[in-house]
């Protein structure tokens, strides 16, 4: 303790000076990132927030008059005749469709994607790249093209109906286009790689000696899967689920092409407000709602994973 008094600087002075320089450097280094975040994310977001509190203009755009209608109109609407507020049933059913179809799509991609990822990851190294390539090929193809390919499959004169008619299982084509089924089918196909890839990465990282250890300790196939494999590939499964669920919620092209004009989803509803609906404040409010929903899901995810890391 008495040693400290002999040093030319008061105790801690050098450290404090270094700390200040450190802080300054850190700010300078992160400046480019900050600029990008402000221009590309925070700025447009702010515009959306402001617009959601304004009044719709006559030909789109906004009038600079404060109004809460953009927000209230997301779930209620004013009756044109007696001015009372009623639930916006159309919106609510669209919210529900978006949520339920996204959930179903996520579950379907899980059911198809996890075994696929497992299969690819357990191939010998040479053949693995080939299968991965096959999984990712559609990914590099334009979304619209892929969606139209699905349409070719399921439309009334499409491949599936033609085959079913040929073998005589059905007498008349099944109406698949412009149904919720079509949207779910299309989204499952379109977003499948987003499930396969993270699960593949997780299985690829899985140490198969741990599976042997589980068998050695009297676990059968199913228990070994449930107690050892599943917990270890769970991060991949959660990541894949979010990667599928989030874009499904906001999907636009696929429901538009396969769902037609009646079976709208959240993305289409937003687009409608900025287009034919000419209600930009409502569109802005809906976008922010969607964003909030996604954020809540992500926060939930981070919470789960960090809690799991904290205690086994």
């Amino acid at each position: 303790m008495s040693k400290q008094a002999e040093t030319p600087f008061p105790p801690g002075a050098l450290e404090r000076e270094a700390e200040i320089a450190d802080t300054r450097n850190r700010w300078l280094l992160s400046l480019p990132a900050i600029v990008i975040i402000v221009c590309a994310a925070a700025g447009p977001l702010l515009v959306m927030v402001v617009y959601s509190f304004l009044t719709p203009g006559d030909y789109g755009n906004v009038k600079w008059e404060f109004s809460l209608d953009g927000w209230t109109n997301t779930i209620v609407q004013r009756d044109i005749f007696d001015d009372t507020l009623i639930w916006a049933d159309a919106h609510l059913s669209i919210f529900w469709r978006s949520f339920s179809l996204s959930l179903i799509t996520t579950i379907l991609t899980l059911i198809i994607g996890v075994p696929t990822a497992w299969f690819v990851a357990t191939q010998p190294p040479g053949r693995r790249e080939f299968w991965l390539f096959l999984v990712t090929v559609p990914f590099w193809t334009n979304l619209l093209v892929r969606t139209i390919a699905v349409q070719e499959l399921i439309r009334s004169e499409g491949v599936i109906n033609l085959i079913l008619l040929k073998i005589g299982i059905i007498d008349a084509p099944i109406q698949m286009m412009f149904t919720d089924f079509a949207i779910g089918f299309g989204m499952t196909y379109v977003y499948l790689p987003l499930m396969v890839l993270p699960v593949y990465a997780a299985v690829d990282k899985l140490d198969f000696r741990l599976v042997e250890a589980a068998h050695d300790l009297y676990a059968g196939r199913w228990t070994a899967f449930r107690r050892v494999i599943l917990p270890l590939i769970k991060p991949g499964i959660i990541a894949g689920s979010i990667l599928v669920f989030v874009p499904c919620l906001g999907a636009y092209v696929t429901p538009r092409v396969l769902g037609g004009g009646k079976n709208l989803m959240f993305g289409n509803l937003i687009e409608l407000q900025f287009g034919a609906g000419r209600n930009w404040p409502l569109g802005a409010a809906l976008s922010l709602m969607l964003m909030t929903a996604v954020m809540v899901a992500l926060i939930f995810y981070v919470r789960i994973t960090s809690r799991e890391q904290a205690d086994g």
Binding site: D207, R209, L210, E212, A213, A214, H215, D216, L217, Y218, A219, G220, T223, R227, V228, P231, L232, G312
Partner: protein
Amino acid sequence: MTSQTAHAEPSDATDTDTDTAAIAVDVDRVSKIFRGETEVRALDDVSVGIRKNEFFTLLGPSGCGKTTLLRLIAGFEPPTMGAIRLGTRDISRLPPNQRPINTVFQNYALFPHMSVAQNIAFGLEMLGKPKAEVQRTVDEMLHLVRMEELKNRRTSEISGGQQQRVALARALAPHPEVLLLDEPLSALDLKLRKDMQIELKRLQHETGITFIFVTHDQEEALTMSDRVAVMSAGKILQVGRPRDVYERPAERFVANFIGESNFLDATLSGGTVELAAGGRFEVRVPEGVRDGAVSVLVRPEHATVHSGEPGEGEIAATAENVVYSGEATVVHLRLATGEAIKIRLANAPQGGEAPPRTGGAAAIRIAPGAVTVLRD
């Protein structure tokens, strides 16, 4: 002691251990062939009987098939030919989860998503033991490997030596009939390895479980084992107690792999060999060796050397190099036949008899019984 010989040792093994206890694991003419781009015969007609409560070691260089033999006993792979029996029951086709055999893996293979205690409880839970019993056994195991304080840690938050102990506890908890250990100490530093060697012996003693231990470290094998099997290229060359394997290796490979060796040319005639460099010695003649030219082994510490001319029963040599290494001095010599030999002299306190000087004439005296005839 029963006189039952449940299992025939390989006929050529110089296993002089006469007490034939009950057999725990019977490996009967097992071969394992891996068919890939090239065919690898990882095990080639291996037979060995491992006794109950025995600390049995498989010793051999890397790639000789030790891990393969363990994996076959554990059940991770089926044998291509032959049978593996637990006692008298054939278990060759039984999946690993139905064999009362547990493994301590080379890399420990602890479950990273579980705590220390959960890892140890895993096997017991899989066996469907009641909660209270699982709890009690886990506590016992934690005590046994001295890990009580760390039982709630994740396995990534403990040191290598501690992981090693958890792996041991996890494998011992279900109280298997046989414990397989695949080079469990090779990742530890020297000090820790010495401690764990003692610890392992203690555990084996306290639990009474048959241990089959794999190592490529001959010293480890000699210090820990009741019996050692020396392996090379998919074959078991010799099975015996450490002392037998060291002092009476059956083959040149075994002699070379375990300890330091001098190989000398000699002529065998009826229980006596005459070294090419001079000197006659009574020897034990291994099965299948006929009179004539043979190769013999002399361990460096089984002979002494002094400077000056050879006396009665001594062999003349020239000291080529004298290396002091603390506890011993190693003298490298050249015999009249041109053969090289090295001799290890235990160092006496200063003032004792000095070893020969480099380049000086020297005389070698080989202890009686120190000459071993090799079969090759």
